[in-house]
Amino acid sequence: MGFLSQAWIIARKDIIGELRTRETILSMLLFGFLVILIFNFGIEPGLREENLVKPGVLWAAFTFAGILGLNRSFIAEKENDCLQGLLLCPVDRSVIYLGKFFGNFIFTLSMGLVVFLFFSVLYNVNLAQVALPLGAILVLATIGFAAVGTLFAAVSVGLKTRDVILSILLFPVMVPVVLAAAKSSGRVLDGVPLAGAGLWLALLVVYDVIFLTVSIMLFDYAVEE
């Protein structure tokens, strides 16, 4: 059994637990929906710059809702001190990181897809035209978000103020992802082909590679007491 299949065993365990309670995904979806709805009321109808605002709304909802899921991903490991049981397993720490990353990626991506759907309904976006390019941006942004978020969630889980600490740690590091995702999805919503946002997509890819690698290397320190 290889490195990735062992990581998948951890992710699968998280998915089974989540399907049973649906605590994380429901709270993420509800929060994402509320953010989009509130912005919808806040933005004046017929605003000329509406197209400039839309991507910001979309990625703000994604980030705020996503952070709820990240917070919960390691709380489940703290119950009954399961994280210690996991750390006792004869696998490299990077396997544990990747397992948690896969789980967070799947939960965040699922939330992102539904939030995109709410967004398209409330902001009159023709999803049939932009679904594929927006989907590609969503996947790239989610990889970066889950890569950094999994590491910081592991760092903050033992703290009483973990919700605040995770946000404080994560938001500044997430700026390039949110910026690149908002800029590239703005182009897509304006009807520009995805290739027109090439530089921003390249930034997302580079960010994903760098932060996934760095997070794998640092995870051992993050879970050390």
Partner: protein
Amino acid sequence: MAIRVKGLWKYFDHFPAIRGLDVELELGRFLTVFGPNGAGKTTLIKVLSTQIGPSQGQVEVGGCVLPGQADRLRRRVGVISHNTYLYPNLTARENLTFFGRMYRVPDLEERIKMLLEEVGLSGRRDDLVRTYSRGMQQRLSIARALLHDPDIMFLDEPYTGLDQHASRMLRDVLKTLHTGERTLVMTTHNIEQGLEMCDEVAIQVRGRLVFRENVAAIDRAAFEQTYFDHVGKDFRWDS
């Protein structure tokens, strides 16, 4: 030698939870470490079982030098703690399947079936762990710790939170662990439960072992006095 520790120090920030501790234990022996709360017993178990690294000193468990060979040792170590390490939203069988796959246990289905029968939980194998009583969860945590048939076991206050009936059941299961070449180290502050199954006893106070003896050479009443003498003398951290 199953365990060889020399000059072990473990700091949390600048606080030394273990202060220059030395201990050796031969293969197949059962050592119980007594000590009051805050003596560093759990920290000792965590270092020996690879959960945390030592700050200073030499630690060798099962021939593996820690922390360098921790990955190799983990395959051979089982830990039973007052925390069960069980996922409450998974069933007993799902929990054991998860840990069994992580340990790459061969013939896993058969092994799970056998262990659940051994700990008396086969009738509730498909129930969520969160519906179990504390005693049942602790018995399942024994099955989890035994899945990969470890030859070194660490038991950290395994009786914590159990009622008399559950304690008795746990004791019966623990008795079956002390077989063959399996080496066991248990920490507790309960003298009666601690003396019952072990071969050797030690008293840990303020991060050091201050007493060590074979259990055969111990008179229980005298040991109780020895324990309280050491704990009473050294319990105050500001002394």
